[in-house]
Amino acid sequence: MLNQQREYVLRTVEERGVRLVRMWFTDVLGNLKSFAISPAELEGALEDGMTFDGSSIDGFSRVQESDVLAIPDPNTFEILPWVDPKSAEARIFCDIHDLEGQPFDGDPRQVLRRNLRAAQREGFEFLVAPDIEYFYFAPPVAGQRPVPLDEGSFFDLTTTDVASSLRKETIRTLETMGIPVEYSFHEDAPSQQEIDLRHTDALTMADSIMTFRMIVKEIAAMHKVHATFMPKPLEGVQGSGMHLHLSLFGNEDNAFYDAADPYNLSPTAKSFMAGLLHHAAEITAVTNQTVNSFKRLVPGFEAPVHMTWARNNRSGLIRVPVPKKGSASATRIEYRSPDPACNPYLAFSVILAAGLRGVREGYELAPEADANLFEMDDASLAKLGVQQLPQSLNDALRTMEESALVHEALGEHIFDWFLRNKHREWRLYKTQVTPFELDTYLRSI
């Protein structure tokens, strides 16, 4: 089948007159990277890969072992719909290998593949559907606060809504590239949008999120608008999250579903949730990897703060949505802390590892959080044993450092590099004197 796929890609390049093939891959921080090759080079690239210098990529090689091999995955070949068909361009995602042909430890896509294989050995396929939030702003000016495009509120419909026409064009483009959209709407905050994608296997979804972020930004830029996935760009209004709807499928059936349970949750679902809750603090640096991420995880903005679960409370870390008509295949859990600035390959890897640890070791799920819980103060909560998510990037990194689970899921190469890089980010942040401090202290002290 691999040969047929390669042949299909080569034929399409020929028939559609593709002039450039963009080889896409992702660095450790989750930035999309790319180099372009000509159609003449594609056949060789599909067979043997293309060598490039990995030392130029964040988190890839150390200088002395700098060359790596990018092997395109023919299953991900797509024509780029926004490029003029007269000089058509295509993209293809690559798996990075070392020069001996082994999966490269610094490649997030290979890390996710390894974690998915581990799940597969236990008989599970991991399905993910994200709800992605982002903002549209006027083009940013250095040193100034972002300027929203509209003052529309939730589900507002006005013909002058620029953002809504941008969103529609974005959805059309996503669908042309084989990324089906479930819902989309204008979110609570000014200029904030949400687009929910239909579930797929985790590897396809991580690729789709990379494509999604690039399309949203690209289409906005064509209209001189700036789209951002920054988790909390505006003070005092909701930030942008990326809630992840998760399920595990056994051979043909949803392993999270149990008709006999009052919540329709199987023992597998419950121990997966217990695993996620137990290890949530350890994986937070990966699912929320910026200094700014932690400005979103505060009370009062529908973002999770405590490591709890509930059926309908949107302040919990895990929500169990009630599926339409109790449908078996739609039974899933929603993990609410991740934000759209994360590296999806690494975030899916650590989430899966945490959940599977719970399944493998039969963790007990704590009782559902009472609605009143969210009105209690931290001291009373601590007495009940309810823990908070890490409060800052620094807290999250300290917790991650001690985690054997994250070390194993990411592999030594990425684990070490990530911690080094993010500690540096924290140190840089810590030396800043912020407007808050000037406003609060300059005159009064």
């Binding site: 089948m1 040969n3 047929q4 796929q5 042949e7 299909y8 890609v9 034929r11 399409t12 028939e15 559609r16 023919p74 299953n75 991900t76 070949f77 797509e78 024509i79 719909p81 068909p85 597969q120 396929e125 399905l127 996503l174 669908e175 042309t176 084989g178 990324i179 089906p180 959209v181 239909r198 797929t200 296997d201 396809t204 499928f249 051979n251 043909e252 295949s329």
Partner: protein, 235 residues
């Protein structure tokens, strides 16, 4: 391989590798030159310059391997045009919806004269080239089977390989309802990991690419599966 002289284009490929003595004898006596192979790779490597004249594939030993071999030699660029299957009566049900993979069949144990007659008839019909239609057309959708290209209402439709194969299968059988399991086994082959959800995911991607107005070209038939175009009985 036997050494009988003859037209160099007249080489028949046999799968799997060790043909039964009866089969080898029948082909030899009837004057066919043949080469038995154990894999697609071997068939590609040993193929004569003018291509294989045809193939005789036995499903007696490993049925799935036989189908996989056929899928490969039928779907490549220079597809093998004449294929005769050898199978037992109990396997007849498996021929359904695989008409594109073979041209004739013969039940085992076969009568040598019958097999010879069927082979001759098959090759005489094949004449100068593949007899398959090269285009599939339905409701504005055109699939060119030679170039792998798809278009919809005149505009190119960019599909991945598996999306193309799934759409082709559906469009070649319009109006018929297929279960996910059938689609999985006929389009992907059973070796594919991911189960019937793979089919759902690809159907959704196809619908997304066809666009909102035409997404209903592929219809969901509740608790059964999918259908391309209208029901053959009308709605």
């Amino acid at each position: 391989m036997n050494d009988r002289a003859g037209n160099p284009l007249d080489m028949v490929v046999l799968f799997p590798a060790a043909p039964s003595p009866d089969l080898a004898r029948t082909l030899d006596l009837a004057g066919f030159r043949w080469k038995a192979v154990g894999s697609v790779d071997e068939a590609n490597k040993t193929e004569p310059d003018g291509g294989w004249r045809g193939a005789v594939v036995s499903l007696d030993e490993d049925q799935e391997a036989g189908w996989a071999f056929l899928r490969a030699v039928r779907k490549r660029d220079n597809a093998v045009g004449s294929v005769l299957l050898l199978l037992s009566g109990a396997q007849l049900g498996d021929l359904e919806l695989r008409d594109d993979l073979f041209d004739d069949f013969c039940l085992t144990p076969f009568h040598p004269r019958e097999l010879e007659a069927r082979l001759r008839h098959m090759f005489s019909r094949a004449g100068t080239g593949p007899t398959r239609e090269n285009m599939v057309e339905h409701s504005g959708l055109v699939l060119n089977l030679e170039t792998y290209q798809a278009s919809f209402n005149g505009a190119p439709l960019d599909l991945t390989f598996m999306e193309y194969e799934l759409l082709k299968f559906l469009a070649q059988n319009p109006g018929k309802v297929f279960t996910r399991e059938t689609l999985l086994s006929r389009v992907w082959g059973y070796e594919y990991y991911g189960g019937a959800r793979t089919v759902d995911v690809h159907i959704r991607r196809l619908r997304a690419k066809l666009g909102e107005e035409h997404a209903n070209l592929i219809q969901t038939v509740r608790s059964v599966g999918y259908r391309f175009g209208q029901s053959r009985w009308g709605n």
